[in-house]
């Protein structure tokens, strides 16, 4: 059974230097509060895994937490570039960043294989592209029945998966709805997991479209109201599109980025326990 504990404690328990960490949430339910806590705790040498790095990994990369990034689309959705990600790849600032690059279909299947206890997944993907030449974790595989050649990717099994959800009960059973992305797969594929939630409730009422993760597959649950901002939690908040647009200017420059992080993550409201 998951234990419900404060966020700072959960992150300290679960995330260690050098770990592979997947913070998932496809546009919706991105676990910003947990990401900020990782930054505050000064983790280093992380392998960060995420389909869409989004601003949260721009922040983690820019703060020097990451050694390696596994991803499939590294932009600011609808806005443009992730400048901290680009600065790390192009200029090795604040540190060199190894990248392992996939397509969405590839990472989604790699998580699904991880959740399924399989060493690899098969898909129709990557063929003819230049990705396999640069990504060692993409290989051909032949159908034993038809002889057709397809593509295999190895399972992703992160040391830690962190996702955000609408609510949990006191036993750590978690409920999320709306765009549910690859969160179930990430949690089930991981060795340890943390779910931050908008609220802990006495009873989880059924909800259309809801995915329930039983507490016995989760390590910790932490209450983090508003913890997906500037992403959103359907039923609790809306996406702060203005912030996504404002981030472009904040992150374009190293100094303004560091100043923003200092004010809003390291020493601001969010930093108070």
């Amino acid at each position: 059974m998951a234990t419900v504990i404060p966020l700072a404690e959960a992150v300290a328990n679960l995330v260690h230097d050098g770990d592979s960490v997947a913070l998932e949430g496809f546009t919706h339910l991105i676990p910003y509060a947990a990401g900020h806590e990782i930054i505050r705790q000064g983790r280093r040498d992380l392998t960060l895994i995420r389909m869409t790095p989004d601003l949260i990994y721009d922040q983690l990369v820019g703060m020097g937490c990451a050694r390696r990034l596994v991803f499939s689309w590294g932009g600011n959705p609808g806005v443009g570039s992730l400048h901290r990600f680009r600065d790390a790849v192009q200029n090795h600032w604040p540190a060199p960043l190894e990248v392992e690059e996939h397509s969405h279909a590839g990472i989604a299947n790699a998580y699904a294989a991880g959740a399924s206890g399989l060493p690899f997944a098969v898909l129709r993907g990557y063929r003819g592209t230049d990705l396999p030449a640069h990504t060692a974790t993409v290989k051909p595989i032949t159908c034993p029945f038809t002889g057709e050649e397809l593509t295999a990717v190895p399972a992703i099994n992160p040391d830690v998966a962190i996702v955000h959800a609408q609510r949990a009960d006191r036993h750590g059973n978690v409920q999320l709805w709306g765009i549910t992305g690859v969160q179930k797969e990430a949690v089930l594929a991981a060795r340890r997991s943390l779910v931050t939630v908008e609220e802990v409730v006495d009873e989880l009422e059924p909800h259309p479209g809801a995915v329930t993760l039983p507490g016995w597959v989760i390590t910790h649950v932490s209450e983090a109201p508003g913890g997906s901002h500037p992403s959103y939690s359907a039923g609790y908040s809306v996406r702060d599109n203005d912030f996504y647009q404002a981030w472009d200017a904040i992150a374009r420059d190293r100094e303004s980025f560091l100043a923003w992080m200092d004010e809003h993550v390291l020493t601001g409201e969010a930093a108070r326990p």
Binding site: H104, A105, A108
Partner: protein, 255 residues
């Protein structure tokens, strides 16, 4: 219905309207940005039953305004069904169920291969772009692909720096050899005109020029020797109702 004069609409509006017109119904896997705007315009004009599918897992989304991201709440709230991301790629895109894939590009080459990964060498990039996202499999598995991209020598190159998504590879037969099931890019819509693959060589050739654009201008905006198709035509300018619907979608501002 009077046709507006060229100065009454922008090149981007012409491009978006031309792209929307290509969507005649069925289902469309929508990339973010210009593709999303054009697909939503099609649904608001001549193709009300067009099924919009976003890689966030929303099937049959009916947003009032085009979303900023492919995962905005309005997509889930208005969808017929919301499925997981593994499911949208495996059960919906991969089997070739989706009629049209609608993609953007940073670079596109004469064989309609698309680059959204890097400009310059992969290991020492001049510009690190966002990367693949859903595009490689959209390009592989949709019944056909429509690309929407502004035309310039930087974007329209002889050979892309990185093949993120396969158009026709190195030419005829490559898609079949690679086992790609869809027919590939049938239409590339730009702010200057429309390009389509030559039925024999698979090379993109110009089939339409938008009103007021010359062949020379289109050629100057292309990084290979752009050929004009035998029946080169002028694009029908945006009709009043198309412009009105588009401007309603973009909040009254010209895009």
């Amino acid at each position: 219905m009077s046709a507006p004069s060229p100065q009454s609409y922008t090149a981007d509006e012409m491009m978006t309207v031309a792209a929307a017109r290509r969507l005649r119904g069925g289902s469309c896997f929508v990339g973010i940005g210009l593709p999303s705007l054009a697909a939503n315009l099609a649904r608001r004009t001549h193709a009300p039953d067009l099924v919009l599918i976003y890689e966030s897992g929303t099937i049959g989304a009916k947003p009032d305004l085009p979303p900023l991201s492919i995962g905005d709440g309005v997509l889930a709230e208005t969808a017929d069904s919301v499925v997981s991301v593994p499911e949208i790629f495996n059960y919906w895109l991969q089997p070739g169920r989706i009629d049209v894939g609608f993609l953007g590009a940073a670079q596109i080459d004469r064989y309609a291969n698309i680059n959204t990964t890097v400009i310059g060498p992969y290991d020492d990039p001049k510009v690190r772009l966002p990367g693949a996202g859903g595009a490689p499999e959209i390009a592989a598995s949709c019944g056909e692909v429509t690309v929407i991209v502004r035309q310039s020598p930087r974007a329209f190159v002889d050979r892309v720096d990185f093949v993120t998504s396969v158009g026709f590879g190195s030419g005829p037969g490559d898609r079949e050899r690679l086992g790609l099931r869809g027919r590939g890019p049938r239409t590339v819509i730009t702010d200057l005109g429309i390009l389509e693959p030559d039925p024999v060589t698979c090379e993109l050739v110009l089939t339409h020029l938008h009103p007021g654009v010359t062949l020379e201008r289109a050629r100057a905006a292309t990084g290979w020797e752009l050929a004009a198709a035998p029946g080169l035509r002028e694009t029908e300018p945006p009709a009043d109702h198309e412009l009105a619907a588009l401007r309603a979608l973009t909040g009254g501002h010209r895009s």
